[in-house]
Subunit: 158 residues, 3 copies
């Protein structure tokens, strides 16, 4: 049986939804969704569209990612904020061998226990996904956010 579009799509969606669940509920697992030497970037849409590669956040490899997680978890002690990632519009733009080019949209909401939830940021992922043994992982992840991102809110990964 040929490996059809539907099956690949489901596997890719599983990766994105598990990735979102890790950030939202189990942040220490966030680096596990990347290959050891993966590049993670957060960049403003304005810069991305103009070809200015000025990233707001850049993490290269598991070490930098784990440092980031540690910093966030320490901050969370006195900041009981929670986040929620809604991931939509998952598209496989190209797929060849063990690697695929994938885009998706994200909307991230933040909430405090005594307050209503509010939209924090929306944007688009432009990613490279690779099959690594049995699992799919990100070889490259670029989070392109629309509008202006309040810097204090940037502490969580997108």
């Amino acid at each position: 049986m040929e490996l059809g579009t539907a099956i690949e799509r489901a596997a890719v969606e599983d990766l994105y939804f598990a990735y979102a669940a890790a950030i939202d509920d189990d942040l220490e697992r966030w680096p596990d969704f990347f290959l050891p030497d993966a590049v993670y970037r957060v960049i403003a849409r304005e810069n991305y569209d103009r070809g200015f590669p000025i990233a707001t956040i850049l993490a290269e490899g598991h070490g930098m990612m784990r440092d980031r997680v540690t910093a966030i978890l320490q901050t969370m002690v006195y900041l009981p904020r929670t986040v929620r990632h809604a991931i939509t519009n998952v598209r496989i733009l190209a797929s060849e061998g063990p690697r695929a080019r994938v885009t998706a949209n994200f909307a991230v909401y933040e909430s405090y226990p005594a307050d209503a939830s509010r939209l924090l940021v929306v944007g688009r992922y432009v990613d490279a996904v690779e099959r690594d043994g049995g699992a799919l992982r990100f070889a490259e992840k670029t989070c392109i956010y629309d509008g202006n991102l309040v810097l204090g809110s940037l502490i969580y990964p997108l």
Copy 2:
């Protein structure tokens, strides 16, 4: 041909999207998406994460669900509010025989005819889905909302 992940996933997504459409457009059909003795709970994320099983709303079985629908439809006569459920991140965590453990994210918007739409609440479902004859239904549905939920808004099911 083996019953693959993609097919199950599509059936589960169909259930969630039909469920959302019923609440948004045809509320009387809401109980039909549950098994007759299903348990429906709405609970704050803060309580859920701490293991406090204090539900904001609890409905056990079709009778309690139908009572709830009747109360909402009576209120709607003088409150022309509409709601819209965006369901994302549908994940089958475990599937064995006729039963699956499923999570998904929700964002609910409310609208009044003369006003812009606004975000009401975001959160996560943690559900048990069962095959009941030809159809999938909820055996258990827990709606975990982030942040604080204005009680007046809680009238619609999540």
Copy 3:
């Protein structure tokens, strides 16, 4: 092998997500997602639900759609707004031969470079999709928006 639900669903989702990407990032391609004589309508939920076919926007065929694109692109010169479409709850209600009846939900966000993103409108598509050679296209697209839509914002297609 029978053409299963999962495969059709994936093709339909691909159409919607490519459609959204065109509006968000490459507006000139928007008409390409329609059959040459397709009908595109934007209508308030209140009117739709009451059976009043008063469309806020009506475009019949590629010519009217291209005129609309030209008008938007001219306006964008002095209005650096961007939009982002999150499409969820894609449902194939009926499928027969080369034509399917499809609904989906949309949430559209707008952003300005120096400001946070904000929710613009939510609603539901009620569409007819047709297989046209190798590709799926819209034969009919009705965008039903909840609440009130600020007219100045209506310039982009939904």
